[in-house]
Amino acid sequence: MHVSRRGLLAGAAVGGGLLVAWGLWPRDYGTPLTPGRGEWAYSAWLKLARDGVLTVAVPQLEMGQGVSTILPQVIAAEMGADWRTVAVEPAPVSGAYPNLPLAAKWAPLWMPFAAGLADDPRKLVLRRWAEMTGFTATAEGTSLAAYEPPAREAAAAARAMLCMAAADRWDVAWEECEVRGGLVFHGDKHFSFAALAEEAAAYEPPDPPPLNPAPYAEVPDPVTEAAGLRFPRLDLPAKVDGTFPFAGDVRLPGMLYAAIRHGPIGDTELLGYDEAAAKVRGLRHVVKSRGWIAAVADTWWAAEKALSAMAPVWRTTGRASSERIATAIDEALTKGEASRVVTRGAGDADNGEPTVTYRYEIAPATHATIETASATARLADGKLELWMATQAPSHAKAAAAKAVGLSADDAVLYPMAAGGSFDRRLEHDHAIEAAVIASEVGAPVQLVWSRWQEHVAGRPRAPLACLASAWTAQEDGSPTGLRLRVAMPSTTAEFGARLFGNKTALAARRATDSAPDPLAFEGALGPYAIPDIAIDHVPVDVGLPSGRMRGNAPAYLAFVTESFIDELAARVGREPLSFRMAMLGGDPRLAECLQRAARLGQWDGGAGQSGNGIACWRIGDPEIGGPVARIACVATARAGEGGVRVEKLSVAVDLGRVVNLDIARQQIEGGLVFGTSLATGSALAYEAGLPTASRLASLNLPQLRDCPEIAVELIPGEGEPADPGEIGVAVAPPAIANALHSATGLRLRRLPLLSEGL
């Protein structure tokens, strides 16, 4: 009897012997790359061609953050390649690229009942799971932590193979060869990568591969930087001439265009639509599901027009509304039962009544990616093909396949880059929808959500309210105890139930509404040496599904904590910078950031209505180890016509080792702009299950003319490279709130800051 591995797995799993089956799962996922003619794959990471082009496969989603330059750069630097020869392609979904640090971090989401078995990247269960599921998700700033080591090893192995091939031609020892600029040298002889590409591919690299003594790093230095970028982004030439393809730019023979309407938020069901009205020129099909309806036409515009004419009717119970959100959160905050998710020292035990308590609130915020959810699907001969941008490709692929009755093995996902994401592309409803529509109409289909649908069916950042309490020292007013009591949905658990449990938004909400969500409080202890800290979560179902957003927990925790710290300083008339410095004895590097930011931003203490505010934050914990990003920001802001006017943001940043300085700067700048947008806008309000705003214009997003002047000082740092993308998002809103307090005397405790009025 022939027994396939898959049959064994299924059988074993049914019998409860999952680990037995895992033991038989392949350990080596080989090389999932398909080399073209005159091209040879050296490993899962790279191919080298006869013409000397080195193509790097990147298993992370390019969404603007530059990962499709940074990982190839790591390889080029380790391998000694010439940057002008480096090309990049997205890696296919494969077990060859497990994101172990992220799998460890998210173990409570994919293995909720036994997360302890897999909370460390070194654990076998975790590696097996990540390989088996092809878990390559792009999130939580883990790209370098997950992929710099295997990228370097792949490059070092390829370098050794090239040296071996050259050495054999010269009849010398390969260890005596050197590689630089895409050439292998021995003394004054050399061969090019192009000349060696074919031969070298056949060599067996040494195990372990001979890594360079240190990983590549760029150190801030005005002189070398003025000479130009050493590693300019690979994606820019195509992005500047319109040829860089996004999912909505795919064109297939016979392809039709689909537009969609989702029912109001709640438990929603399509009742019907005006069939007579759907006589729009170019309309080909109407596809109905329980919670959405799609029109398929010759152009997207015709499909969208047909949907408007059809005016679908829904039956919805439990409609989301801002009033309901506010009531649920208020009730939870004041009366709900809290779970303690983080404690330091004695927490709040034996402290008695706090000296001071303030209440902070954050409204639901939308990502407002300029690219709306887009996916192209083709279903033919029992195979599903998907073109889309996704931060979690294996799960998107599996969910879409399942929706049309196929196994994940019968689906192919072609990873496309995203037109912005900010964690929006951790969701993949549109993949399921595109697959279902393609299946029903029997033709390739491109589904693009309208802007309005992004507002209706996107997954905004969760709303929250927080009572921040402090017990303060009598002599100087500094906090000896801090407690945050936060009422918010169990937003991370809800996201996990959607991504890993393949649940609908409604089912995910119902599955998680009463359990606390420790992952939503990452870094809640903050950077300060406060002896006693208690972080309490009151989980609350607000009737609105929520999701991940750039900055995540650090973004809302920094706003609450850094606003509150400012208030504690103001209570006793202390200067906000020195008030913070006095509590940073345990983190001299963050103290250094504060001092440098103060200098850069000409910090004046914020006195005399100068409109200067200060804030700092860090992501990562030096006591635990791993990468730590630190930032301090001096903001200058005023209350101006039509709202908040942010004039300047000056930041000093310590990211540890930096691989690409200019991309790090881009990310810091972009993070600050994104954080500014969360401070001044991005909020959605809801009525009867629908957002009250349908347009980007209603979100008060910054344009070039509103953009603050931004000054960034990168501090040369040591240690593992930290992600530059999220830390700016975290620091900007509290710095701006503190600046407005200086400018106006008003303490704005609600995000967006405008919503309180000035």
Binding site: R50, S192, A195, V240, G248, I370, G420, G670, L672
Partner: protein, 179 residues
């Protein structure tokens, strides 16, 4: 059939004349460099140049564009050599790239009218939304493009497409097979 000139070529569209130019370009002409972001004129990702003026292609129908000259990002230059394209790459004033075509065309239209725009004029001419946050680099990039256009500076940041392997091998030793 609605006739207009796109990137120097006469085109006739056999679709509803009320179709916004954006969707005619993307879905009928397959000129996908012009992006849909909102359909209501808020994001400016669909900006194209119509008779020399930067316009949002989601707000004009092909009937309204009949007989006019439209330039999309595909037609701005044949080889990425437009000063704005070169300057945007040189300054890395691009992240995800989705809003880039609209911004580049808006900047190109500005420079064709005003060879030496002030920072305030640049800010006023670029109302495009960029969520990645390239704003801090835009004024610098457009000023640099203006200097290039005025021939005060040259940049070669974005290589022309379609370089032959032989030409590449002459410039890059790693690509020279030595045979």
């Amino acid at each position: 059939m609605t006739a207009l000139t796109v990137n120097g070529r006469p085109l006739r569209f056999d679709i509803d004349p009320e179709t916004p130019l954006l969707h005619a370009l993307r879905e009928a002409a397959n000129l996908t460099g012009t992006k849909y972001g909102c359909g209501t004129g808020d994001c400016h990702a669909c900006t194209v140049i119509v008779d020399g003026e930067a316009l949002r292609s989601c707000l004009i129908t092909i009937a309204e564009a009949e007989g006019r000259y439209v330039t999309t990002i595909e037609g701005l230059s044949r080889d990425r050599s437009h000063p704005v394209q070169q300057a945007f790459v040189a300054e890395q004033a691009i992240q995800c790239g989705f809003c880039t075509p609209g911004i580049v065309l808006a900047a190109a239209a500005l420079l064709s009218e005003n060879a030496n725009p002030s920072a305030a004029e640049i800010r006023a001419a670029l109302p495009n939304l960029c969520r990645c946050g390239v704003y801090p680099r835009l004024v610098r990039a457009v000023e640099r493009a203006a200097r290039v256009a005025r021939r005060e500076e040259t940049i070669s940041a974005a290589p022309a497409p379609g370089i032959s392997a032989e030409d590449a091998a002459r410039a890059v030793p790693a690509m020279d097979r030595g045979d």
